[in-house]
């Protein structure tokens, strides 16, 4: 009986540990998890916190711009694409930002 109890406690701890490890640890991971669930506003909140530690990360601006676009906040999306362009030297990313800006300026 004691062995059975010990085994069940150990397996419970393993399952709990796996669950805790699977949870997003930082705000960027939380933002992506929320985005994949379709919770765009929650994703934007988490990105705003993540941006404090990554203030010049162009990919963070890019994700934020895509979320604003999905939400229909076109002016905010334009601002984020502009920020994305300012913080990168990657020509592909600049080209992508230009395509989005051209589309958004028509709204």
């Amino acid at each position: 009986m004691k062995i059975k109890k010990i085994i069940s406690i150990i397996s419970f701890l393993i399952v709990t540990n796996n669950y805790i490890n699977a949870l997003p640890k930082n705000h960027l991971q939380k933002a992506v998890a929320a985005m994949e669930l379709g919770l765009f506003n929650e994703a934007l909140k988490q990105i705003e916190i993540a941006k404090i530690k990554n203030p010049t990360n162009a990919q963070v601006f890019r994700l934020k711009a895509l979320l604003h676009e999905a939400n229909g906040d076109y002016n905010k999306a334009i601002l984020e694409w502009e920020n994305c362009k300012q913080n990168t030297n990657d020509s592909n990313l600049i080209n992508e930002a230009d395509i989005h800006l051209k589309n958004l300026e028509e709204y």
Binding site: N26, N57, L67
Partner: protein, 206 residues
């Protein structure tokens, strides 16, 4: 080649590479009807052709053109009845995915901490009038650390199309353009992709 000439040539090439190819001798104002050819599905995405086709038809309707669908399954966009020329619009889907992986590298920053412990004790002397107060302070300073190794992955949608306009009588390719768009949702991304392509075509025929 002279390096002074090379730079302007590269600049002109890069600034124009994404613009449509147009046959400048063709009079687009004489087009009376655009026939939209059946769009073939992108590899492994059944229904993708129909989605793009419907979006193109929808965008032409939004622009105010008469759109009709006939028995053979083709869609016709009527520009006006005065002109004689008719063209066929061929569209090929080059990309259609909602599984494009994007990596965000991020900085893990431990800003460190300063811990100060103040201990105060009051000791009494034999002489009751004098009391000695002892204060000791211990400060622990942790400098923290910065790692650049973190990354987060997410998937996004990306739709790409190539559009060709061919004159029905001469078979001449008169206009061609490739376009792509990306976003979080596949349906919206394919809609924007179609919208922006139709926008360029309507500028030609208006």
């Amino acid at each position: 080649m002279n390096s002074k000439l090379l730079f302007p040539i590269i600049f002109v090439f890069l600034s124009c590479w994404n613009s449509p190819a147009v046959n400048t001798n063709y009079n687009f104002n004489e087009i009376s009807q655009i026939k939209l050819n059946k769009i073939i599905d992108f590899n492994g995405h059944s229904g993708s052709g129909q989605i793009i086709e419907d979006n193109i038809a929808l965008m032409f309707m939004k622009k105010g053109y008469d759109v009709s669908s006939r028995k053979e399954g083709k869609t016709y966009i009527n520009i006006n009845n005065k002109n004689q020329k008719s063209v066929t619009l061929h569209c090929t889907i080059t990309e259609y995915t909602d599984r494009e992986i994007i990596v965000i590298p991020f900085r893990i920053e431990d800003r460190g901490s300063i811990e100060t412990i103040i201990t105060q004790s009051a000791g009494s002397n034999k002489n009751k009038d004098n009391t000695i107060a002892t204060t000791s302070t211990t400060t622990t300073n942790d400098g923290g650390s910065i790692h650049e190794s973190g990354k987060v992955e997410y998937t996004q949608a990306r739709v790409g199309i190539i559009i060709k306009i061919i004159d029905d009588i001469s078979g001449l390719l008169v206009w061609s353009h490739s376009y792509w768009y990306n976003g979080i949702e596949l349906t919206r991304t394919s809609q924007i992709c179609a919208k922006n392509s139709v926008q360029l075509i309507s500028k030609l025929i208006d």
